[in-house]
Symmetry: C2
Subunit: 324 residues, 2 copies
DNA sequence: CTGAAAGCGCTTACAG
DNA sequence: CTGAAAGCGCTTACAG
C-alpha cells in the first residue's frame, strides 16, 4: 500500500504518530515551533513529512475565517509573454509561503467576483489593473484584502515601456513621434502611463510634443488614425502589437513606405508580430518579472514581507524587426 | 445598517428567523423541501432570501469532503473568441446548479495541479484537451471527478471546423487542398480532428487526398511549409489565424498572389486577422457554445443532468475576407 | 513546555 | 414532519 493509496492524513494522524496532541501539531506546523522543546517540534515535523500531511484547506478556512487562496484577476487586455509562465512562477512563490494561486476573470458584472470571493474567502485578491469601485466594494464587504497593482511600480514599468519605445524610434533618426492607444479604454489600461513615457523621452530629446491617436483593431480605424497623423515622417509607439500591425497595414494600403514614411514599434512580441512583412519591431516583457512583483505585493499586503517591488528595465527587451 | 454592513448570515441565523432548526434549513435549502410541510419550507426560503444567506463554502466542504468549486484548466493554445465571455457564461450556468467556476492553467509540472486540487477539493476538474496520464493520476488520488473534453462532441466540432474550411475553399473553385498544423503538438491539440474534417470534405467532393504540413509561427518555417506545398494552385486550411497569416505573408514574400495562387483560411477570427491585407477569411467560434458544452459535461459527470452535448454547426460562423 | 476543550458552519443519520 | 446530536479538520485561548 503506497502513500498515494492511503486516505489523506489528518493532523490527528500526525499527532498520534508523533506522540503529541493535535494542538501541538498545529502550533509547530504554523511557525510556533519555538514554543516547544526542540525534540518535540522535530518529532512533529518528521511525522508530518512521513505521512505527507497537508492540512485540510476547509478545516483551516472554517476555523480562521479565510482561506489560503490568492485570487488573481486576469484583465481583458493583451498579455506580453506567456500566461502559463507567469502563473507557474507566481504559484511557486506564493506556495512557498503557504498560499495557493487561483485565477478569475474580470467580467462586466461584479456578481461573478462577488460569488467567487464569498465562496472562496481568499486571503487576497490580486489585480493587474486598478480595481473598479464596485469591485472594491465587493472585496471590502467580504473582508478580503485587495492587492492593487503596485501602482508606483506598475506606472513606472509602463513609463519605462513608453520611454524605451521612444528611445528606439529616436535613435533611428525619427523626429516626429506619436502614441497610438486602443480606443476602448478598458483594453487600454496602461496606455496613459506609456504615453507619458513616450512624451517624456521626446521632450528630453528636444523634440516637439508627441501626437496622440486611438483606434480599435479595424482597418478603417487604422486608416483614419494614420491619416490624422499626417504621414510621411511619423514614428508611432503603439499600445500593443495588434495596434502596430493595424497601422503598418494601413500605411501599406495608403502607399507609404514602412519604415521610411511611417515607423511603428509595438509591445508584447506576439507570435504573429514576427511574421509580418516587414517584421515588427517590438518590446518583449518578461512576465516572470511581473510574477515576482505580484508575489511581493501580495505578501506585503498580507504583512509577510517588507520590500516594495521596484520597476526594472531588465524585464524589458527590444525585439529588433524592420518596422523602425 | 444595510445588508452589506451586516456580518454574513449563517444557517443558524436563518433557522432563528424562520423559527425552525438548522437541520431543517439545511434540508430545505439542499433540495429536500418535499420532506417538510410546504409552509415550513416557505418560511425557510423566505428567511434565507431576506438575510441574503449564502452557505459557507468551508463549512460545506468540511462536512461533505469536497467543495462546490469546479476547476477549469486553460490550455496552452489559441482561443477562438473571448475568454471573458466563455468564463462568464460557464460561471452562470454552473452557478445555477450551485457550483463556482475557478480557473487554473495547465503547466508543465503536475505539482501545481496537485496542490490546487488537494487544497480546493473541487467537485470536478474540466479540461479542454485530454488529460495527461500524470494529471489523471493526481485527480484520481484526490478523488476528484475528471471531466474530459467531451471527446465525441469535441472531435465532432473540430471535424466540423475542418469541413467548413474545406467547403469554403472548394466553393471558390479550389481543387488542391492542404491542412497546416502548428508544429508543436502541445499547441495543436485539435489539429488531427480538423485535418480529418478537411480530408473528408475533399474526398466527398471527389478531390485528391489533401496535403499536410506543420509549422511554427516563424517566417522561415512558413516559407518552408509553403514551398513544400508547391504553389501555385494550393488552398490551405489552417489550424488557426496565426498559421494562416504566416502562410499568407510567406506567399507574398515569394511573390504569389493571394488568393489567386495561394488561398488560405484561418480559424478563430483573432482581432489582427481582420486588418491583414488581404483580409483573412476565417471561422469564428461562438465560445458561448463551448461554455454550454462544458457546463453540460460537468453536470453530467456529477450526475446532475442527462443530456450529452452535441456539436452544433450554428456555433461556427464564416467570416468572409479576401484570402480565399 | 504541553494538552483538553471549545467552536468555526455545515449536513446527515437517527430518534421521535 | 421536525429537531437534537454528532462530527468533518482545524486552531486558539486557556489551564496546568
Amino acid at each position: 500500500m503506497t502513500q498515494a493509496d492511503r486516505a489523506r492524513a489528518t493532523s490527528n494522524d500526525v499527532a498520534v504518530l508523533a506522540g503529541v496532541s493535535r494542538a501541538t501539531v498545529s502550533q509547530v506546523l504554523n511557525g510556533h515551533a519555538d514554543r516547544f522543546a526542540p525534540q518535540t517540534a522535530q518529532k512533529v515535523t518528521r511525522a508530518a513529512r512521513q505521512l505527507g500531511y497537508q492540512p485540510s484547506a476547509a478545516g483551516r478556512a472554517l476555523r480562521r475565517g479565510s482561506s489560503d487562496f490568492v485570487l488573481a484577476l486576469i484583465p481583458n487586455t493583451t498579455f506580453g509573454g506567456n500566461l502559463q509562465d507567469w502563473f507557474e512562477r507566481l504559484t511557486a512563490t506564493l506556495a512557498a509561503q503557504g498560499f495557493t494561486l487561483v485565477l478569475g476573470v474580470t467580467t462586466a458584472s461584479v456578481d461573478v467576483l462577488d460569488r467567487l470571493v464569498s465562496q472562496m474567502q481568499p486571503a487576497a485578491v490580486l489585480a493587474f489593473t486598478p480595481f473598479r469601485a464596485a469591485e472594491r466594494a465587493v472585496l471590502a464587504r467580504n473582508g478580503v484584502v485587495a492587492v492593487d497593482p503596485p501602482s508606483a511600480a506598475r506606472a513606472g514599468q509602463d513609463a519605462l515601456i513608453g520611454r524605451l519605445q521612444a528611445e528606439t524610434l529616436i535613435s533611428r533618426g525619427h523626429r516626429r513621434l506619436a502614441f497610438a492607444h486602443l480606443a476602448d479604454s478598458r483594453q487600454d489600461p496602461f496606455g496613459a502611463a506609456r504615453e507619458d513615457g513616450v512624451r517624456q523621452a521626446a521632450l528630453e530629446a528636444g523634440l516637439p510634443d508627441i501626437e496622440v491617436v486611438g483606434l480599435a483593431i479595424h482597418i478603417d480605424e487604422a486608416l483614419g488614425a494614420l491619416d490624422r497623423l499626417r504621414p510621411p515622417g511619423i514614428a508611432i509607439a503603439c499600445y500593443n502589437d495588434d495596434v502596430a500591425i493595424s497601422l503598418m497595414n494601413a500605411a501599406q494600403l495608403r502607399g507609404w513606405d514602412v519604415p521610411g514614411d511611417v515607423a511603428v514599434i509595438g509591445m508584447d512580441r506576439t507570435p504573429v508580430s514576427q511574421v509580418t512583412v516587414p517584421r515588427l519591431t517590438t518590446l518583449e516583457y518578461d512576465l516572470s518579472d511581473a510574477a515576482a512583483t505580484g508575489a511581493a505585493s501580495v505578501l506585503r499586503a498580507l504583512g509577510l514581507e517588507g520590500e516594495a517591488p521596484t520597476p526594472s528595465a531588465s524585464a524589458l527587451r527590444l525585439v529588433e524587426g524592420a518596422s523602425v
